[in-house]
């Protein structure tokens, strides 16, 4: 594949655009002071976004179902984390459940 100038410019635009998205939040927060209620909502938004990511990446791949093995692993992780098991145990068990299920032919 030839790396055309257009492709190089696209790479730079994606990098600069992503940095601008990243910088907007801290810039806004340092320029404007929000009422406490809005502050609280912005704090909660990180957990809301991450929860949305967890559910969509656990259950879907490219807009369709990700099968059973992956969500099963994530459910195991959820139960173990809720029971306050160490993070490393939670994450490795989740991956183990998924890979074992796949080993036995579960999608």
């Amino acid at each position: 594949m030839d790396i055309t100038p257009a492709l190089l410019i696209s790479m730079v635009v994606l990098a600069v655009g992503t940095f601008a998205l990243r910088m907007s939040g801290p810039l806004l927060r340092s320029r404007i002071s929000f009422p406490p209620k809005v502050d609280k909502m912005m704090e909660v938004s990180a957990v809301v976004l991450l929860a949305s990511l967890v559910l969509t990446t656990a259950l879907t791949e490219g807009g369709v179902s990700a099968g059973i093995a992956r969500p099963a692993g994530v459910v195991v992780a959820g139960v173990m984390a809720w029971r306050k098991l160490p993070f490393i145990v939670v994450v490795l068990s989740a991956a183990a459940v998924t890979s074992l299920l796949r080993l036995f032919g579960v999608p």
Binding site: M23, R29, L49, R102
Partner: protein, 216 residues
């Protein structure tokens, strides 16, 4: 920073490195020169947008479409920045800290109780990913087609599992729990119909469940 936190962050960074190997391998076997995924990975530092960018260009899509799709996936960084404005540091460090913003660094930050630990976890994870992601991409590009499918080892489960474990303590707050569960449901049901990135952003609608509550 205590040992357990270092170990947890190292585990996630290692997994990022392994995904980086498959990202580099996909890029090079699709015809990109080795330096391209490494440079893209270092400059953008947001995995899913890079997979998408490489995939669209490799499939013959226009670079403009690849940029727009990548930016849409990365749009959640704006609310992330609003949520954790106090972890970036000052001066030139602040620019580096802002570049480190991604799902994992933010998740490690929200998992910590006090400000110093938030910042330490955020930076340690950011540095680890800045190291592991491009190095993984370079390794993957060099090994190329020899890379096996990381899904066999359940690596695709590692990220949702790790993020879930990190945000779960925040669910002790009933309002946070309600907003997060509602938002996640909105994201899930819109996923089949919308381009990547938008459903997660729509998850923010979950915040409407707490907007009317009295001050706490």
């Amino acid at each position: 920073m205590e040992g357990a936190m270092v170990r947890d962050i190292a585990l996630v960074c290692l997994a990022v490195g392994v995904i980086g190997i498959s990202y580099g391998a996909i890029a090079v076997t699709s015809g990109f020169p080795l330096w391209f995924p490494v440079l893209l990975g270092t400059m953008v530092l947001a995995a899913s947008s890079e997979f998408l960018f490489i995939g669209i260009v490799a499939a013959g899509g226009s670079p403009v479409a690849a940029v727009l799709a990548g930016l849409l996936v990365n749009s959640r960084h704006l609310p992330f920045g609003l949520a954790v404005p106090d972890v970036f540091g000052r001066g030139w460090r602040r620019l580096v800290g802002i570049h480190f913003m991604n799902d994992e660094t933010v998740a490690f930050a929200v998992n910590q109780e006090d400000h110093d630990r938030r910042r330490a976890a955020y930076w340690a994870c950011g540095l680890g990913i800045l190291l592991c992601w491009p190095v993984g991409a370079a390794l993957g590009g060099l090994i190329g087609t020899a890379v096996s499918d990381p899904d066999v080892f359940g690596l695709d489960t590692v990220f949702p599992a790790a993020l879930l474990a990190l945000i779960l303590p925040a669910f002790n707050d009933p309002k946070t729990r309600r907003a997060a569960l509602t938002g996640a449901a909105v994201a899930l049901v819109t996923t089949p119909f919308l381009p990547a990135g938008l459903p997660v952003l729509l998850g923010l609608l979950g915040l409407l469940t707490i907007v009317r509550d009295k001050e706490t």
